[in-house]
Symmetry: C2
Subunit: 384 residues, 2 copies
């Protein structure tokens, strides 16, 4: 995998388990989506929640004023501290988080918050009024019944927007996320989900404009739909998170191939159970997460598929079980495991079901670039 | 829940989600098991993997030479740095981790490693010989077919022990873990699992002694069996990890009650979906983990049961779904949710399915002691 001997030495020196990032693949994945969205005339607003590392931000974003999405106020604070200025905090806002948002606003950072209730709009108006500031908000639109949000044609959409528009806070636009697209398994379904997401956002924006409420931002996105849009006319921006690392869930949906997965967990074989046909590895849920996102896909990948350290897929084995610091590798097709091929001490890579979850188990990523033979450690932003 | 107004103020000041520890309950749980094992004449060797905080170590251990178990070399290094000297690293050893173990040994820390193969014994002998040190090892015994280990009556047990005993490394004893006890649901099964664990360890030790190999340590344990032993004659020590925090899996097994659970995730209601009967909370898998350990128990608790911030159980709701930073609270019995009782901004506590997994999602724990009205922040040891 690592033809350069200095890179290979570094790789071997690291204690397992650790999160390995192939920077060349990561970069290729980022370019792929950015080019697609550029061509369709919208802006990409990457979701920081997957990589959550300031070291990765320059790869995600062309410059410090480029749009980015975050899932925690902590991410917004870290990005702001590093000079990034254009942020959407895409989790429903509550009153208790407003002082930290306000603090960022007061430093000149454009942080927008998300809401979908009258109560939240009242809270923002009250806070803005009481603190002599202007909290900017987007309204979450429900495009597919997946989680939260307001239906595009709902009267409540106009009510909430009007409250903000005429209140001390500021209404800036609409945002939707096709969460149901994670359940798509073919291109037809994906395109339908993508078109539906676009349509819901445009309908919501039009609904508001008919009510004379300006709708500056029309934000849509999920990694599956982002790779499937045909026409983004009227859409201002697209959000996606896992598209940089990719994972087995995305491969199962069909938006990437297995060899587009840029992040894996490097692990060591620490035991054999020849009677049961098991290899033990030193990567359990503490290193992999216990995400089972492929459980409902046509190909259930257990707790992860495997490659050897040269990158060759092990087609007959997967991680079938995890404890805190143990993983069990077993056969998936009844073929016996060749224990001599996997001696104690040898290394394997586990490809993650869900890269957001697997990356979240690591405070550091070990980033290898086979294009320029460089090695970096990226630190992850922890907490909320 | 917090009668003291200063404690209550601190609680309210913290941003959600955060891990809340009720120190009074934690302490009560620790005392309960320590007293039981004391009475049965064995030593308790707490497993550090659940709390993984040096701030918690003085509560787990009577003094710096008290026995402790770890799941990572990083934990051993942190404990050694704080003066703790009696450690078992209870995950199968591989060659690459020996230099760090050796480094601890050279500082006078008694760190023992675990193995269950001839290959590993040869590696330890070779390393000890080449580095002029003595790596001490325990052999893992398979008491219930759960994961790894050697059967107590296996000839291989003597072969491995003899290799160590006559080699440059040191054989120090046997260790077993009744992993299958997590599948027990009544006292009869638990007692049987506990007796079986004791018997397997004693058989293995006797088997070795018959072969003239001294067996100084006879170590057994799992939280379910540890609370169920009747007789520990011949057993030198008992290991348990989750018994300090406890969780819904342990309550389901019957070794604790719901009100013995000392750790919970404090979360805020951030949205309502009245059509679907959902509350949205700001605790997703990032705060709760995606552990579904109760899925195969008689009572499936989803992603966690709930209390209000006064500690009253919500009997009709649980966390039914999680995304990265969102949890969905739904009805479990079809009864409608009283949305007025859970306004946006109100706080709930999520009781964890699996405290080891939930605690692992937090770098800090917020520890409230209602006995002396103190508040502490405990930091968690991260990484490997």
């Amino acid at each position: 995998m690592l033809e350069n001997s200095e890179l290979q030495r570094r790789y071997e020196t690291l204690d397992t388990p650790f999160l390995f990032v192939d920077k060349r693949i990561f970069h290729r994945n980022l370019e792929r989506l950015r080019n697609k969205i550029d061509e369709l005339g919208a802006e990409l607003r990457p979701h920081f929640k997957t990589v959550k590392s300031l070291h990765a931000a320059p790869y995600l974003l062309p410059d410090k004023s480029s749009p980015i999405t975050v899932s925690t106020v902590k991410e917004a604070e870290a990005l702001a501290g590093a000079g990034y200025t254009n942020i959407i905090y895409a989790v429903g806002i509550s009153a208790a988080k407003l002082p930290r948002v306000h603090h960022l606003l007061s430093k000149g950072i454009a942080v927008r918050v998300l809401l979908d209730t009258i109560e939240q709009a009242k809270i923002l108006n009250q806070y803005s009024h009481d603190n002599n500031c202007t909290i900017s908000a987007l309204i979450e639109i429900d495009c597919d019944g997946h989680r939260g949000g307001i239906k595009p044609d709902s009267a409540k959409l106009v009510d909430i927007a009007q409250l903000l528009h005429h209140g001390a806070a500021h209404f800036q636009g609409v945002l939707t996320h096709a969460g149901e697209s994670y359940l798509c398994f073919d291109q037809t379904f994906l395109r339908t989900a993508a078109e539906n997401e676009v349509k819901a956002a445009l309908n919501a924006a039009n609904h508001l404009r008919c009510a004379k409420i300006p709708c500056e931002i029309v934000s849509i996105g999920s990694t599956p739909t982002a790779h499937s849009y045909q026409d983004l006319n009227g859409i201002t921006e697209v959000r996606a998170g896992v598209y940089g690392f990719f994972d087995l869930v995305m491969a199962g949906i069909g938006v990437c191939n297995i060899n587009d997965i840029a992040a894996s967990v490097v692990t060591t074989v620490i035991g054999h159970n020849k009677e049961k046909g098991w290899l033990f590895i030193d990567a359990g849920w503490m290193a992999l997460s216990s995400d089972r996102g492929t459980a409902n896909q046509p190909k259930d990948c257990g707790y992860g598929l495997l490659t050897d350290s040269a990158g060759n897929m092990l087609y007959n084995q997967q991680v079938i079980s995890v404890n805190q610091e143990h993983g069990i590798v077993g056969s998936v097709d009844g073929s016996p495991i060749d224990f001599d091929a996997f001696p104690i001490g040898c290394r394997l890579h586990v490809l993650p079901n869900h890269a957001c979850a697997t990356a979240s188990m690591h405070s550091y990523y070990h980033v290898f670039d086979t294009a320029d033979n460089s090695y970096e450690v990226w630190t992850r932003i922890l907490g909320w």
